[in-house]
C-alpha cells in the first residue's frame, strides 16, 4: 500500500469520525420530538465560563422518594432511561429504567448516564418539607442520582452565558429539547418566560 493510499484512509477515517459526531446530533434534531425541560440555577460558586452556559435541569437530580426506580443497578457510569410526563407546561421525571420502556403520547423517554449515585436523607434540615411525613420515614435515606443527558452545555456568544445560567428571579428559563426514538437528546432552543431567545438551527 503506497503512502498516498494510507494517508487517504487516515483522512477518511478521521473525517468520518467527525461527521458521525455531527450526524448523531443532526439526526436527533431532525427526527426527535421537542419537549420542554425546566432548568435549575447553577451553583454560583462554580467557576465562570462566560461563553458557555452550564445547564442543570429538574430531571438532573432524581431522588428515590420522588421518582420510581425500576432498575436495581444504579452505579455511576450506567446508562439509564428516564420516563417523563408533562406537567404544567414542562416534562418531569416519573420513573427510571434500565432499558428503553417505549414512548407514548403521554410519556416520553430520555436517555442519560448516571454521574453520581448516593444515599441521602432528603429531609435533613428541611423541616417545612418534612411536615406530614412520619418521623421514621424522615430518617430513612433514599437513593439520589445525578444524571447527565448530553445536554448540559450550550455554547453562546462570549459574555452572554452568565446571564442565562442565573436569570433574574422574575424570569424562568426553560430548554426545548429534541428527543428521538432511542432516547437521545439535543438542545433545539433556549426560552426565557416561554419566549425563544436562542434557536438552534440545523446548519
Amino acid at each position: 500500500m503506497n503512502t498516498g493510499l494510507k494517508l487517504f484512509i487516515l483522512v477518511a477515517l478521521q473525517s468520518l469520525a467527525i461527521l458521525a459526531m455531527v450526524g448523531g446530533k443532526v439526526q436527533t434534531l431532525l427526527t426527535g420530538e421537542v419537549i420542554i425541560l425546566r432548568t435549575v440555577p447553577v451553583d454560583p460558586r462554580s467557576l465562570f465560563r462566560g461563553d458557555y452556559v452550564r445547564l442543570r435541569y429538574q430531571i438532573t437530580r432524581l431522588a428515590g422518594h420522588e421518582v420510581s426506580f425500576e432498575v436495581d443497578d444504579l452505579r455511576p457510569g450506567r446508562t439509564i432511561y428516564v420516563r417523563l410526563r408533562e406537567q404544567g407546561g414542562a416534562w418531569e421525571a416519573v420513573s427510571v429504567h434500565g432499558q428503553h420502556p417505549g414512548s407514548t403520547p403521554d410519556f416520553k423517554v430520555i436517555r442519560g448516564r448516571i454521574a453520581v449515585s448516593r444515599l441521602e436523607n432528603p429531609f435533613s434540615g428541611r423541616r417545612q418539607s418534612a411536615q406530614g411525613i412520619p418521623p421514621a420515614r424522615r430518617q430513612t435515606p433514599v437513593r439520589v442520582l445525578v444524571v447527565y443527558y448530553g445536554i448540559e452545555a450550550y455554547f453562546v456568544p462570549e459574555g452572554t452565558g452568565r446571564a442565562l445560567e442565573r436569570p433574574p428571579e422574575d424570569q424562568t428559563m426553560t430548554v426545548a429539547v429534541a428527543v428521538d426514538g432511542a432516547g437521545k437528546a439535543a438542545i433545539s432552543g433556549l426560552l426565557l418566560d416561554g419566549k425563544l431567545v436562542h434557536d438552534e438551527s440545523l446548519f
Binding site: Q14, M21, V22, L47, F155
Partner: protein
C-alpha cells in the same frame, strides 16, 4: 534514533581502537564530537518544523476562535475539515519525496493534521452543543493518532498518541477538568481497564519499529498508570502520600509496587521486544521507589501512638486494611522472587545487580511489607523502627550508587548521590533546627552543603569517568 545507535557503537569501538593503538587517544574526543555534531545538526530541521507546525496550528485555532460567532455551522464544519485535509495534503506532498529533510517536514505536517483533528473534535462539539462525556472526545483523538502511527509508521504520531492516551485516562480517573462538579461520568471501577488496551497498541508499534522515544514514554506512563490504579484500588491518593498519613500503609505499599516494577524492568531488558522500554521502566520505578521509600522514613509515618490517639479514638483515618496487608504480602513475595531471579541470572557480572545490592533491596522490601500491618507499638519500639528504617534507607542509597556503577546505569549513580545529600540535609534541618542556636545552625548547614556537596561531586565524577572507560558495561543510561 539511528544516529544515537551509531554514536553509541562508535564510542565503544573507538575505546577499543585506542587501546589497541590504532587511533591516537587525543583524537578520540575530536572524532566523537564531529560525529555528534552531525547528529545534532540533522535534528534541527525537525525541531524547526515542529515549532512551525505548532505556530500554524495555534494561528489557525486563534483565527477560528476570533471569527467563530459569525459563521454558520455548515461553514464552520467545512472550514474545520478543510484545514485538516489541507494539512494532510501538504504532508503527502513532502512524504512522497524520500529525502531526509522532506520526510521530517512531512512528519511534522502529519502532526499538524493530528492537532487539527483534535481541535475539530472540540470545535464541532462546541458548534453542535455536544456535551457528552468529554474523555470520549480525547479517546477519539487518541485512536486517530494510533491509526495514523500504524498506517504511516510515524514515531511523532505515536509519541503524541501516548500523551493523548495519558490525558484520556487522567480525565477518566481523576476528573482532570471537572472542577467543582462531580466527574462527568466517572469510571465506575477503581481501575481504568481500557487504558492498557490502547496503551498496548502504542507500545507494540514502538517496540516493532524501534522507536525509543515512544517506548520510553510508554514505559513511564505505564508506571504512572499502575501506581494510579493501585492507589485507587486501596483507597489512598496524593493527599495520603504528601499530606498527613491517614493511611499509614500508602507510602510503603507504593514502594513495594515500585520495587517489583524495578526488578521487572531488569527482567524485561533480556527480551528484544521489551528492551527499548525496559531501561525507562527500570529508571522510572527506581526514581519513584526512592521517593516512596524516603517518605516512609519520615516521622509522620511512625507516629503510631499519636496517630492512634488522633484517629483511632475518633474513628477517622485508616491505618491499614486486610486488602492492604494481603497486597503487601503478595508484592513482597513477588519482589523477593524477582530479586532471586536477578541474582541467579545467567549473565555477565557487569550486567547483574551485585548480591549486596539485592540483599539491601530485599531487606527494604521485607521491612516495608512488615510495617504495613503494624498498628500499635510501645514508643521504644517505634523509635527503634524509625532508626532502623532510616539506616536501611541510607544503605539503599549506597546500594543504588554501587549497583548503578557496576551495571553502567549513570542515572542510578547520579540519583543515589543526589538523594543521599538531600536526605542528610533534610535530616540535619529536621533534627537540629530547634536544638541549636540559629546562627550556628545555618553555619553548620552551609558547611554540610558545601563540604558534603563538593566531596560527593568529586566522587560522582570519578565514578562516571570510570564507567565511561574502555569496555563500558550496561546501557550507560
Amino acid at each position: 534514533m539511528l544516529n544515537n545507535l551509531y554514536l553509541k557503537r562508535l564510542k565503544k569501538d573507538l575505546s577499543g581502537w585506542v587501546k589497541r593503538g590504532w587511533v591516537p587517544a587525543q583524537h578520540q574526543a575530536t572524532i566523537l564530537a564531529d560525529a555528534a555534531g552531525e547528529a545534532q545538526a540533522s535534528r534541527a530541521p525537525l525541531i524547526t518544523a515542529i515549532m512551525g507546525v505548532v505556530l500554524i496550528g495555534g494561528g489557525v485555532i486563534l483565527y477560528l476562535a476570533a471569527n467563530w460567532d459569525g459563521m454558520s455551522k455548515l461553514s464552520k464544519l467545512a472550514l474545520l475539515l478543510g484545514a485538516m485535509w489541507a494539512a494532510y495534503g501538504v504532508a503527502f506532498v513532502f512524504l512522497r519525496n524520500h529525502q531526509d529533510l522532506e520526510q521530517k517536514m512531512g512528519q511534522a505536517l502529519l502532526a499538524l493534521g493530528l492537532l487539527l483533528f483534535g481541535a475539530n473534535i472540540m470545535l464541532v462539539a462546541q458548534a453542535f452543543h455536544i456535551s457528552d462525556r468529554a474523555p470520549d472526545g480525547i479517546l477519539m483523538w487518541t485512536l486517530g493518532a494510533l491509526v495514523g502511527a500504524w498506517l504511516l509508521r510515524s514515531h511523532l504520531l505515536a509519541f503524541s498518541g501516548i500523551l493523548l492516551a495519558t490525558l484520556w485516562t487522567g480525565m477518566e480517573v481523576v476528573n482532570l477538568f471537572g472542577g467543582l462538579e462531580p466527574a462527568f461520568a466517572p469510571w465506575p471501577y477503581a481501575v481504568h481497564w481500557p487504558f492498557p488496551v490502547v496503551w498496548a497498541g502504542f507500545a507494540w508499534l514502538a517496540g516493532k519499529n524501534g522507536w525509543r522515544g515512544a517506548a520510553r514514554l510508554a514505559a513511564m506512563v505505564m508506571v504512572w498508570w499502575l501506581w494510579i490504579s493501585f492507589s485507587d484500588l486501596f483507597g489512598f491518593g496524593l493527599e495520603e502520600i504528601f499530606g498527613y498519613s491517614q493511611t499509614l500503609f500508602s507510602n510503603r505499599l507504593s514502594f513495594l509496587l515500585m520495587a517489583v516494577l524495578f526488578l521487572a524492568g531488569r527482567r524485561a531488558e533480556g527480551h528484544a521486544l521489551t528492551r527499548p522500554s525496559a531501561a525507562t521502566l527500570r529508571n522510572t520505578a527506581l526514581l519513584a521507589g526512592i521517593l516512596f521509600l524516603y517518605l516512609s522514613t519520615l516521622r509522620g509515618d511512625f507516629a503510631i501512638g499519636r496517630t492512634a490517639m488522633l484517629f483511632g479514638a475518633e474513628g477517622g483515618g485508616v491505618m491499614t486494611t486486610p486488602a492492604a496487608n494481603l497486597a503487601a504480602l503478595v508484592l513482597a513475595a513477588a519482589g523477593l522472587a524477582l530479586a532471586w531471579l536477578e541474582h541467579a541470572r545467567p549473565a555477565a557480572a557487569s550486567e547483574r545487580l551485585p548480591a549486596p545490592v539485592l540483599a539491601t533491596l530485599a531487606a527494604c522490601v521485607l521491612v516495608s511489607a512488615a510495617l504495613v500491618p503494624w498498628n500499635f507499638a510501645p514508643p521504644g519500639l517505634v523509635l527503634a523502627a524509625y532508626v532502623a528504617v532510616n539506616g536501611l534507607f541510607m544503605l539503599a542509597m549506597a546500594g543504588t550508587v554501587y549497583g548503578g556503577y557496576l551495571t553502567g546505569n549513570r542515572m542510578a549513580v547520579n540519583l543515589g548521590l543526589l538523594i543521599f545529600i538531600l536526605w542528610i540535609t533534610i535530616l540535619y534541618f529536621d533534627t537540629f533546627f530547634g536544638l541549636m542556636d540559629r546562627s550556628l545552625f545555618f553555619v553548620g548547614a552551609g558547611v554540610l552543603l558545601l563540604g558534603g556537596g563538593y566531596a560527593l561531586q568529586r566522587q560522582r565524577r570519578k565514578l562516571l569517568a570510570r564507567m565511561a572507560g574502555p569496555g563500558e558495561a550496561g546501557d550507560g543510561s
